[in-house]
Amino acid sequence: MAAPLWRRGLTAAPWTRGSFSWLLSCSRAIQTTAVCHKNRAARVRVGKGDKPVTYEQAHPPHYIAHRKGWLSLHTSNLDGEGGAAERTVEDVFIRKFIYGTFHGCLANEIVLKRRANVLVVCAVFLQRLPPYKFYFLVGYTETLLSFLYKCPVRLEVQTVPEKVIYKYL
């Protein structure tokens, strides 16, 4: 069975089929079968084998409680707890902020932990900057984020000479 196609432009009216079929064959079409709708969420698609990929990126999201851990740990997604939207927005902001402050230095995704009042940001950086610059940026981030979110923010930093490659896809 031929894959169903949505035709844009010329509509296939019955009287045109016989005489103008060569015109119809060069119209545009969008494939709409289910076979083509593969999941692309949080996955790195397999390529030629030259793309380096970390452990976090290599595993798709259905491995989350099995081979992967969580990147953001808070209680608002538990049964009967509230504030999920606020925590998510804060998380997105913090990730973008740190990605921008330590531009090009992030080896892996940031892990955010919320323990009582304290927000702990765990990050793994590449050794692309001299240490005194790292110290300054860490202090700057901590102070700015604590003033922004009115809670103590701690940045726990680990540096690595290069990105840890899990496999090549």
Partner: protein
């Protein structure tokens, strides 16, 4: 007079792991016997395992009894301490292994403080699932399903005093891991109020007599 211990600021001051204060043999320099099982012992002391009792010296540890009066953490008040028949600690989290390790920690802390544990059970998990459309526009037949799993663990303790409960709960809560929430239910024991301590039916006949007396006079 009941000494009420205020919860200590450092969580590890609530009870040194393995120390048995009831032994009553305090050395003047702060040495005291430590009973460790081989599993709980920290690695640096494993070489001393051949003896049953270890004499471990901790420097800077106050053992002088007179110090309690100067100690601002402990206060003595005249009110009787509240009593709890049952203290129920329910922890919930996304990760079952985290709850397992937290349960081990809470049970260990309770045993060190001498709290009797009634039971530890695991209520069944709850899964919240929802189905959303996969695409932002049309494609109604293609959906994505998400779920959020909440695992529970319930620890029930019995026969606690108010100060013990405060200290234990403060210690437990300061060491709650991230991503784990806790709910506490306390069942308090209260003394029966004075006006219902004795049954009323002892006094009822006198009431009836006056009523009959009133009826007779009414005639």
């Amino acid at each position: 007079m009941v000494p009420v211990a205020h919860p200590a600021p450092e969580p590890w001051a609530a009870g040194c792991p393995g120390s048995r204060l009831a032994k009553g043999r305090w050395g003047g320099l702060g040495t005291f016997p430590v009973n460790y099982s081989s599993r709980d012992m920290p690695k640096q002391y494993r070489f001393l395992l051949n003896k049953d009792l270890l004499w471990v010296q901790f420097s800077g540890f106050h053992t002088d009894l007179h110090h309690h009066k100067d100690n601002s953490l402990i206060s003595i008040s005249d009110e009787p301490d509240t009593l709890y028949r049952k203290l129920s600690v329910l922890v919930k989290g996304h990760d079952k292994t985290v709850l397992d390790s937290y349960e081990y920690f809470a049970v260990l802390a309770a045993k060190e403080l001498g709290i009797s544990i009634e039971k530890i059970h695991e209520p069944p998990r709850k899964i919240e699932r929802f189905t959303l459309l996969k695409s932002i526009h049309i494609f109604k037949k293609h959906r994505v399903q998400y779920e959020m799993r909440t695992h529970y663990r319930c620890l029930e303790l019995k026969h606690l005093t108010g100060s013990t409960a405060d200290v234990y709960l403060e210690y437990i809560q300061r060491n709650l891991p991230e991503g784990v929430a806790m709910e506490i239910k306390k069942t308090k024991l209260e003394k029966l109020p004075e006006h219902i301590q004795k049954p009323i039916w002892d006094k009822l006949p006198s009431v009836e007599e006056t009523a009959t007396g009133a009826l007779e006079t009414g005639h």
